[in-house]
Amino acid sequence: MHVVKIATAGQGNCAEINRIPYVYASTEFGDFVLPARCPHRGGPLHLAKVEAQSYRLICPWHGKANSAKHAVRRGLPAVRRGDRVSIVFPGDVLDETTIVHRPLSPDLRFDRRASR
């Protein structure tokens, strides 16, 4: 296992591990590490909308639904402090790890602090 640190938004908010992008999604019903590639056809899940009633992420390509509740509970272990996130990935440190930027849809940028 190894630890990778990314930003919650903006520059450096995406870790690409073995060419799979991971971002940190903040939603009204919980925050989680999101593999930003839809398991259906590889659509950009970082641009997904959240279906409020079902807590599902809807892929912008084919409308495939992915459970966000599952990601909160069973996703990659992560801890956010302020605007930084530490994620524990399985396996050893990989050369293929790169930190890049991915835009997030408004539904994945919920600001809990501002909502007070």
């Binding site: 296992m1 190894h2 630890v3 919980g30 925050d31 989680f32 590490v33 990601a71 909160v72 509970r73 069973r74 996703g75 990659l76 272990p77 992560a78 801890v79 956010r80 402090r81 302020g82 530490s86 994620i87 524990v88 809990r112 602090r113 007070r116």
Partner: protein
């Protein structure tokens, strides 16, 4: 038989009820304003400025950007008093009848009960922001937790804290270093007391491992090696006194936040697991910090500072960090399962935020102290803008007699102090002041600790609440 009971409601005071309870607590004569800057060998006298508490709101938790404001300082001053009624403090010298009354009043059931009534609301107010600053998600295991915590070894170990840089670069490094040591006094003079809160009861073999760390802190019963004794020597070596809370009025909100955080975790045993995470972080990082602190004090005081307190920690905390992980955290997770991991992680991360806030607060205070002469110079252009009508601000007209001491406090916006007649000694920190005569004054930065004492038969002055003094300059 059908017994009908009212629904159980956890009690948290709010609104006028909370304000009234705070005033009942803080109007204890122990907490009234002092006529001196220092508390002289009396650990029971702590200034809470109850005369303003009725105007402050403690209902909604502070936001991260509010934790250095006066409400925060007021709440942490109260919490320090409340937590410390669990600790035994005795003065250095004879218990005079007056001091004996203070001793009895501080530990009286009335004082303790009134404090406990307001404590939950004050804790929510003062620490609530930390719940939003840290979030734990995903499927954690003992293995991923250990990987995460051991990653602390990859930190930049010789990264100088902004506070250390501020001391070295200060206009008066010795004054800044004394102010720094004063900030540690609430913690270091009763070192490890919060830890002891978790020793009572029965937590199996964890208790014995916990105890091993505590006995190091207490020097195995040898008074000369107790960590608080070492810190007393550090204080004396640089010309400070070592009695508890002598420098109460110079504590910053960030410093009290850091000290109170461990009391908060230790007092509320539902946060036991959180304490473990915070303990691991502090014990591990203190090693590097203490190496730098010893070097800093050596440099600033030309070798005259007694730094054994810090060199002792360089050695023992390398053990304590490892013990906290291998003998406390990992066995706890093994026994109780991953349900406790989020709390451990919260403690680990929250304490880092708390430490950053304390550092930021101290750095700004040193800048504020160093800028004393410049702030005095700023009086003229800002006052001119007010007189000319280019700036308007609410004004308070105040008349005070000789010796009147405004106990230390701060304001949410910048202010201008303008002396109409008489002389004021304006204090912006330990050993830091400006003398203000008629026609003079000073800009007062927002959220910066300050106080004043009148040095003429009478002083007439004005406080203009300008909000942002820079806007008066354009």
């Amino acid at each position: 038989m059908n017994h009908s009971l009212p629904a159980y409601q956890p009690d948290l005071l709010s609104g006028p009820e909370l304000t009234a309870a705070i005033l009942r607590y803080a109007t204890n004569p122990l907490y009234l304003d002092n006529e001196e800057w220092l508390n002289d060998d009396n650990p029971y006298r702590r200034q809470l400025r109850p005369q303003v508490l009725g105007k402050l709101k403690f209902d909604e938790p502070l936001r991260r950007d509010q934790v250095l404001n006066y409400e925060s300082l007021a709440a942490h001053r109260m919490l320090t008093c409340i937590y410390e009624t669990d600790l035994v403090f005795l003065p250095r010298s004879t218990l005079t009848p007056e001091k004996y009354r203070d001793y009895q009043a501080f530990y009286s059931p009335h004082n303790r009960a009134r404090g406990d009534v307001v404590r939950p609301a004050l804790e929510k107010f003062a620490f609530g922001f930390l719940e939003e600053e840290v979030d734990v998600s995903g499927d954690w295991s003992a293995e991923s937790l250990e990987t995460f915590l051991r990653d602390i070894d990859n930190r930049v170990k010789d990264a100088v804290l902004p506070a250390e840089k501020a001391i070295r670069e200060s206009a008066d490094p010795q004054r800044a270093a004394k102010m720094w040591l004063i900030q540690f006094a609430p913690d270091f003079l009763s070192e490890a007391s919060p830890m002891l809160r978790n020793l009572l009861g029965n937590t199996g073999d964890i208790q014995s491992e916990w105890f091993k760390i505590v006995i190091d802190e207490y020097g195995y019963g040898v008074h000369e090696t107790k960590h608080s004794t070492l810190f007393e020597r550090t204080l004396r070596s640089v010309g400070l006194e070592d009695d508890v809370h002598r420098y109460w009025q110079y504590y910053l909100p960030g410093s009290l936040l850091m000290n109170n955080y461990f009391h908060y975790l230790g007092k509320n045993h539902e946060l036991f697991f959180r304490y473990l995470g915070a303990l691991f972080y502090t014990e591990t990082t203190l090693v590097d910090f203490c190496v730098r602190a010893a070097g800093l004090l050596d440099d600033v005081f030309d070798g005259a500072a007694d730094v054994e307190y810090f060199t002792e920690h360089v050695h023992i905390d390398s053990h304590h960090g490892r013990m906290a992980l291998e003998k406390l955290i990992l066995p706890v997770v093994q026994r109780y399962g991953p349900i406790v991991i989020p709390e451990i992680l919260k403690g680990y991360e929250q304490f880092q935020i708390v430490a950053e806030i304390a550092d930021e607060d101290f750095v700004t205070q040193i800048a504020w102290m160093d800028e004393g002469p410049a702030n005095k110079s700023l009086h003229d252009p800002v006052h001119r803008a007010i007189v000319d009508g280019r700036a308007t601000a609410p004004v308070a007209h105040i008349v005070e007699p000789r010796g009147e001491l405004s106990n230390t406090h701060s304001h949410q916006g910048d202010e201008l102090c303008h002396i109409v007649s008489g002389t004021m000694k304006f204090v912006s920190g330990f050993e830091s002041h400006q003398i203000l005569e008629a026609g003079e004054g000073t800009v007062i930065w927002r959220n910066r600790l300050h106080g004043a004492i009148i040095e003429s038969a009478e002083c007439v002055y004005e406080i203009h609440s300008v909000g942002d003094y820079r806007k008066c300059m354009s």
